[in-house]
């Protein structure tokens, strides 16, 4: 047993960290926050240019051909630096769907362009019936109709992977019948859009896996990768809060010497590390396609959602009034925590998935 990443993998992560520390700065993130940009082109070009974003895409499709373990560590760094880029949309979701179930032609056509950053792709994979009100999307005879209420990076995507029932459909956003418009969300650093398809000519993903099992598989991969982003963000905001607690004084002492704050931070640390080990286990299961993946992915997602939301909330509390200001970055973590926790279905829904998988296993 070896429950750690390799030195090479760590080295790659360090390179990405260095790059993100320089580019994914508060100023840059705030350009997106203020609506001056849809994402940070600088961060994006670097992530793609280094071959980091396409770590898990095979070389034959223009990727780096490394693997999921590398991508997991890159995700952790992206989360740590609140990278305002469509990494999840394009790589954890859309590219993943194409790799699992695109046919030869679909893969050849799209994967190299996604890997090279020429096309930003996105996906809406959650089972629409689970929480959307309107009628469920329908795909029949090569035509898709339906409303997709919250699609990440919809406005900048050159390819949409949309779910109708248990079929995943490739949609060209420029095709006749596709309407999309930007929507305001709680985390403006990661913009979303609404997509409405009216009798749009489209193609189903039709190689490899299909149906509900495919959707589950893609969601499980995304759950693991997002968990790493969450762990990265949670770890960073705890560090920021700790640093502030060492510097700020009240009642004649460092606020970090009050046991209430020490224990609060110890609890946040414990939740973060619990999320980290579950994320690591998910990374292992994903990297070798282990039968444990459904349990591991759901556990990683729940633990990481709990951890990041809590770390971000307490991060503000530890800062006091200054933490509640627009100028401090604390709220950026709280916004991102909420975004990541709901992007592919809520913590609550994933807890049920985890329990269902455990109950199946115990039968």
């Amino acid at each position: 047993m070896n429950f750690d990443f390799s030195d090479d993998q760590r080295l790659l992560a360090q390179e990405v960290r260095r790059m993100l520390a320089e580019t994914s700065t508060s100023t840059e993130i705030r350009r997106v926050l203020a609506g001056h940009a849809t994402h940070s082109a600088d961060v994006w070009n670097n992530l793609v240019g280094m071959g980091a974003a396409a770590a898990a895409i095979p070389e034959q499709f223009g990727g780096a051909g490394l693997g999921y373990l590398e991508l997991c560590l890159i995700a952790e760094e992206a989360g740590r630096h609140l990278a305002p880029v469509p990494l999840a949309s394009s790589f954890y979701l859309a590219a993943e769907a194409l790799m699992r179930s695109g046919n030869e032609e679909q893969q050849q056509r799209w994967l190299p362009r996604i890997a090279g950053g020429d096309v930003i792709a996105t996906a809406a994979l959650a089972d629409a019936e689970a929480w959307s009100t309107g009628p469920a999307p329908v795909f029949a005879d090569g035509r898709l109709s339906g409303r997709f209420a919250v699609v990440p990076d919809a406005m900048i995507a050159g390819l949409l992977v949309l779910r109708a029932g248990d079929t995943l459909v490739l949609v060209d956003p420029a095709a006749p019948g596709v309407a999309r418009h930007a929507i305001a969300t709680l985390d403006p650093t990661r913009p979303c859009g609404e997509v409405v398809c009216t009798d749009v000519a489209a193609q189903a993903l039709c190689g490899g896996e299909r149906g509900a099992a495919l959707c589950e598989r893609v969601l499980n991969a995304a759950a693991v990768l997002l968990a790493f982003e969450q762990v990265g963000g949670a770890t960073r905001i705890l560090e920021i809060a700790r640093d502030y607690a060492l510097q700020r004084k009240a009642f004649g002492r460092q606020i970090g010497s009050f046991q209430a704050l020490k224990h609060k931070m110890a609890d946040v640390y414990t939740a973060n590390e619990l999320a980290r080990v579950h994320a690591y286990y998910g990374a292992w299961a994903l990297s070798c396609d282990a039968p444990e993946l459904p349990v591991a992915a759901a556990a990683a997602r729940v633990a990481a959602s709990v951890a990041f939301n809590r770390a971000a909330e307490e991060g503000i509390e530890i800062h006091g009034g200054i933490g509640y200001t627009w100028e401090m970055d604390c709220h950026l973590y709280m916004r991102r925590a909420r975004y990541l926790a709901q992007l592919i279905g809520s913590e609550h829904a994933w807890r049920t998935r985890l329990a269902d998988a455990l109950i199946r296993e115990a039968a």
């Binding site: 047993m1 070896n2 429950f3 750690d4 970090g256 690591y280």
Partner: protein
């Protein structure tokens, strides 16, 4: 990253399994325990027999260096052995303190002759050891020890009281921390000794625990004589020796939370009925099952990280303190919820409900002790805050003053 056994680990596991099959009975269910129906004395002598058999096969002190009489194995091998042994009906726990902390402390600090006298006997099960640190006025604050050690020539005279001493009633020897200098600050006037638990002046009174068992004791020490040769480490150097004991405790990474606990919960939820339907159909019950798995499997994974660190030649650091924080609270929540699902019937004393309930109820009753023993949850949070996160230590007024001058 790889969760599966390496070829060497798989070979070791196979070897252990073969040996266990040849020497012990497999358990028939997760909840079956060794020694049902045996009295204390019978359990202890069965444990001694089992310890000797393990020693002969090289499984008694797997990670100890060979010069101490161990097998020079890895922590991973120790864990593999533990995982496999868990499936058999054999005595466990009796030697945990001996092999885990006490004897390594003796091996590290005793004079060669004393070491030769005790360590081999400990490994084969002839001598069982306990740890006498805590006192009525010194628990979390171990430095507050008031048991008095006075030197008279080649001997020390010990007077005082220890408490919460696990296993004292069946142990042969113990490691004892006592105050040898009252004019030094609290942590600088302590000395560590080997004490013969059968020596004149040692009086052991079992304490009735909330679990109904009597595993720990009060130990009264009146004019107990200890030869200076049985001192461990320097005079007034006991604090350092104690820290090394605690380090061994941390390295003795073991199962803290039964790995089948979420399955117990699922099992109970299948049979229990809520609103006329199986409790398992209820989404709230499922949430609790998911939460149970997060802490239970989380504990296993934290251990896996510690093992990986060890295999890379690093010491698992204070970050391992979160292990017991997660496990203690986890057991309390999981076992408590399992009982709750049965409604009023969950209150019925275990003897009437069979082995599974007995297991869950005993677990629930043991959980508060797990949260206290070996560092309370609050002390562990301090450790995480100070040693991992680098936050300031507690404000203290007792560090520099001579112990004599500290207020009671």
């Amino acid at each position: 990253m790889d969760f599966r056994d390496t070829p060497e680990e798989a070979a070791y596991r196979a070897e252990v399994r073969t040996w266990l099959h040849a020497n012990a009975q497999p358990r028939t269910s997760d909840e079956q325990r060794f020694g049902e129906g045996l009295d204390d004395a019978e359990r202890i002598s069965a444990a001694r027999v089992w310890q000797r058999r393990k020693a002969e096969a090289g499984y008694a002190a797997i990670t100890w260096p060979r010069e101490w009489g161990g097998s020079g194995g890895t922590a991973m091998q120790q864990v593999i052995y533990g995982q496999e042994e868990e499936r058999f009906l054999v005595p466990r726990m009796v030697f945990e303190n001996s092999i885990g902390q006490c004897l390594p402390t003796v091996a590290m600090w005793a004079a060669p002759a004393v070491r030769e006298r005790h360590v081999p006997r400990g490994i084969v099960g002839d001598e069982i050891w306990c740890q006498l640190f805590s006192e009525p006025a010194a628990g979390s604050d171990t430095g507050g020890i008031r048991t008095r050690a006075e030197r008279h020539g080649d001997e020390w005279l010990i007077n005082g009281q220890k408490v919460w001493t696990s296993g004292a009633h069946f142990c042969d020897y113990g490691i004892l921390l006592a105050r040898s200098d009252w004019d030094k600050p609290k942590q600088k006037g302590l000395t560590m000794f080997i004490i013969d638990m059968k020596a004149p002046g040692v009086e052991i009174r079992p304490i009735h625990q909330m679990s109904g068992d009597t595993e720990f004791n009060e130990v009264f020490l009146t004019d107990v004589r200890i030869p200076d040769a049985n001192r461990l480490g320097e005079v007034n150097g006991g604090w350092k020796v104690m820290l090394s004991t605690l380090m061994h405790e941390r390295l003795a990474i073991g199962g803290h939370l039964p790995t089948h606990l979420h399955r117990n919960l699922i099992q109970v939820a299948r049979t229990a009925r809520w609103n006329g339907r199986p409790a398992l159909d209820d989404e709230r019950v499922k949430e609790r099952i998911a939460n149970a798995f997060l802490s239970q499997h989380g504990v296993e994974l934290i251990i896996a990280r510690g093992l990986t660190a060890l295999s890379q030649g690093k010491e698992p650091g204070p970050e391992m303190s979160i292990l017991k924080l997660v496990a203690g609270r986890g057991i309390l929540d999981i076992a408590g919820f399992a009982l709750e699902m049965a409604g009023p019937e969950g209150l019925v004393a275990h003897q009437d409900l069979g082995r599974e309930w007995s297991f869950l109820q005993q677990l629930w009753l043991s959980a508060p002790g797990i949260r206290l023993a070996g560092g309370t949850d609050e002390i562990l949070r301090n450790v995480v805050a100070e040693r991992v996160l680098g936050l300031p230590g507690e404000i203290r007024t007792d560090r520099e003053l001579p112990f004599r001058e500290l207020e009671r």
